[in-house]
């Protein structure tokens, strides 16, 4: 067992390749096989009963667990420095699962107002139908979260590096405010990835990912994850009876008592995935795993390219402003130095002189950069949020979340930086005609 003696000492690059994935025991296959199966045979009826009761570890049905997906779950838990993870069909599904485990009808939570537009919509409308109410808070002054707390609040949710882009949220004091109130801090770490920032190191208790983005990294697969730190004491303030009292949804099982520091993860899977059903497909898990193996290399290049593109845009006469926390002009520069020392990510926004029409013109005239609604691909991607991702929001919400009429969002890819710059240059030239 000597080989097991040094597990926590490995570097990030090693974990990105190896965590969760030892050779497949029966065949010795070294790459993680795609277990394209819905179900798994039981040894006998007693084994089946033990599995259903969660008394033994093992596979039942791929809505709950799948060997390929499990490797990805352990991998992301390891990279985040967390205790356990549940993968989901998308980032949105991951958010739904996390809140489904934490909230009862009538409960509330606080969320930063600087979120991906789809998350604002999900929290405002879909969650209301579960009886959950979200209050949005301007994250620039962490103290505003304390002021917004109510007795029914069960969590605080932020994007540490916010989408559309350029905004870094001061995680550490917000974590302190959450903990004073006995609440977990949930951080969507999609834009930073654990390579650039590990929210658990700054007090977060749950990390959410849209693995669709940089973790997958190649624009091939939808995926999400809920990761648990293992450090939050769910019993301390009595606010989470669903975790610390016998659960009627699982025949009276007490998840926190039985599974301790991964009780949240077990409940998210055994009740959330079981009853809501947004399981990840094994093929997607395989593609995302392959993507993660090169995450450190890709993020270094994404960040280097983004820095160059941001500097080019800032100096361009057709551009009124650039929001990228890697620029000296950014008000978030010092927060980026603290939380994102390896770079401020690769998603940025800029304002085009000429407003809505000029913004639309840029996204329609680029030739190398792809006009589409995603981020975190090897390819550079561009979108005009006001007419697309943030369309469903009110004008006020749009401006508040950094998606005003003149705003263009860019996800800087891994092409030659000069080519990305040349493409933007020719598109910006056309806004003046």
């Amino acid at each position: 067992m000597n080989r097991n003696e040094k597990p926590r000492g490995y570097g990030f690059e090693t974990l990105a390749i190896h965590a969760g994935a030892s050779p497949e025991p029966v065949t010795g296959a070294r790459s993680t096989p795609i277990f394209q199966t819905t179900s798994y045979v039981f040894n006998d009826a007693d084994h089946a009963a033990s599995l259903f009761n969660l008394q033994t570890f093992g596979y039942i049905y791929s809505r709950l667990t799948n060997p390929t997906v499990a490797v990805l779950e352990e991998r992301i838990a390891s990279l985040e420095g967390g205790r356990g993870a549940v993968a989901a069909a998308s980032g949105h599904a991951a958010q739904l699962l996390a809140f489904f485990t934490l909230l009862e009808p009538g409960d509330e939570f606080l969320a930063s107002r600087n979120l991906y537009g789809g998350s604002v919509t999900q929290f405002t409308h879909a969650f209301k139908r579960f009886g959950w109410n979200c209050h949005f808070v301007d994250p620039r002054d962490p103290g505003d979260f304390r002021k917004a707390l109510t007795t029914r609040c069960k969590a605080i949710f932020i994007e540490n590096l916010a989408n559309p882009g350029g905004i870094v949220v001061d995680m550490e004091p917000i974590a302190a405010i959450a903990h004073e109130a006995g609440l977990p801090l949930i951080v969507d770490n999609t834009l930073a990835t654990p390579y650039l920032c590990r929210p658990f190191d700054w007090g977060a208790d749950i990390v959410i990912h849209s693995m669709t983005k940089f973790l997958s990294g190649h624009g091939t697969s939808m995926g999400g994850a809920v990761v648990e730190s293992g450090r939050f004491d769910w019993a301390r303030f009595g606010k989470f009876p669903g975790l610390t009292e016998p659960d009627p949804a699982y025949h009276g099982l007490n998840f926190f008592e039985t599974f301790g520091d991964f009780g949240f993860t077990m409940k998210t899977r055994a009740v959330g995935l079981r009853d809501l059903g947004p399981a990840m497909a094994p093929m997607n898990a395989f593609l995302i795993l392959t993507g993660i193996e090169t995450l450190p290399l890709r993020m270094d290049r994404h960040v280097a390219n983004a820095q160059r593109v941001a500097e080019f845009l800032e100096a361009h006469p057709a551009v009124s402003w650039v929001s990228y926390a890697g620029l000296p002009s950014s008000p978030y520069r010092s927060l980026a130095r603290k939380y994102l020392p390896k770079g401020a990510g690769a998603v940025l926004t800029f304002g085009v002189k000429g407003g809505f029409e000029a913004g639309v013109r840029v996204v329609e005239t680029v030739e190398l950069i792809s006009h589409l609604a995603n981020i975190g691909d090897t390819r550079s991607l561009i979108i005009h949020p006001a007419s697309t991702t943030h369309r469903q929001l009110t004008d006020e919400q749009r401006i508040a979340s950094g998606a005003g009429p003149e705003v263009v969002r860019l996800s800087v890819g891994l092409e030659t930086a000069d080519d990305i710059i040349a493409d933007l240059d020719q598109a910006l030239a056309k806004t003046k005609t």
Binding site: M1, N2, R3, N4, E5, P7, R8, Y10, T14, L15, H18, A19, G20, S22, P23, P25, V26, G28, N43, H47, S50, N53, L54, Q55, T56, F57, G58, Y59, T65, P67, V69, A70, V71, E73, E74, A77, S78, G82, R83, G84, A85, V86, A87, G230, R231, P246, Y250, H251, G252, L253, N254, E257, T258, F259, G260, D261, F262, T265, M266, R269
Partner: protein
């Protein structure tokens, strides 16, 4: 709930050298953690003996329930304690008396004074851990549920089919 950490080597050795586990505070209810642990460990080939004064006269998972550790007529390797931390002292003293090799306290159970007495008597002590979870982790099963086992290995694992 930061758990004291024990080396994987130590835990492996304990699990390898053990045959009989006395489960103090064993519950006859299927949804209690002690029942989970007994059921799982039986499946891995261990003999588990329930100790619970309020269930004497019953059987749990086919095993006769004893009132105290001293009543068990055979040698016990691990005394596995599923009781509140404050009540652990006398159980540990009994474990020393019957010559158990290991005292293992369940998740959430900690009693450093009792642990020190056991260690002074030559026993090995593990606190605030679940035997089932550690067995699963060290045998590559914990990752099946997306839990971070902390294990990195390029070696092919032996498959155990029971």
């Amino acid at each position: 709930m930061p758990a004291p950490t024990y080396s994987d080597g130590l835990l492996c050795q304990i699990l390898r050298d053990t045959r009989v586990i006395a489960v103090v505070g064993a519950s006859p209810n299927w949804n209690r953690p002690s029942y989970f642990a007994m059921k799982y460990l039986q499946g891995k080939g261990y003999r588990t003996i329930p100790v619970n004064p309020s269930a004497v006269g019953e059987e749990i998972l086919g095993e006769k329930v004893y009132a105290t550790l001293a009543d068990i007529p055979e040698r016990v390797d691990i005394v596995n304690i599923f009781r509140r931390s404050e009540t652990v002292g006398s159980i540990v003293d009994d474990a020393i008396t019957i010559g158990a090799k290991v005292v293992w306290m369940q998740l959430g159970v900690r009693n450093p004074e009792a642990a020190a007495r056991a260690e002074a008597a030559g026993l090995t002590v593990v606190m605030n851990h679940c035997v089932k979870i550690e067995y699963g982790r060290l045998h590559g099963e914990l990752g099946w549920s997306g839990i971070n086992s902390g294990i990195i290995s390029s070696k092919r694992r032996n498959v155990e089919v029971r």
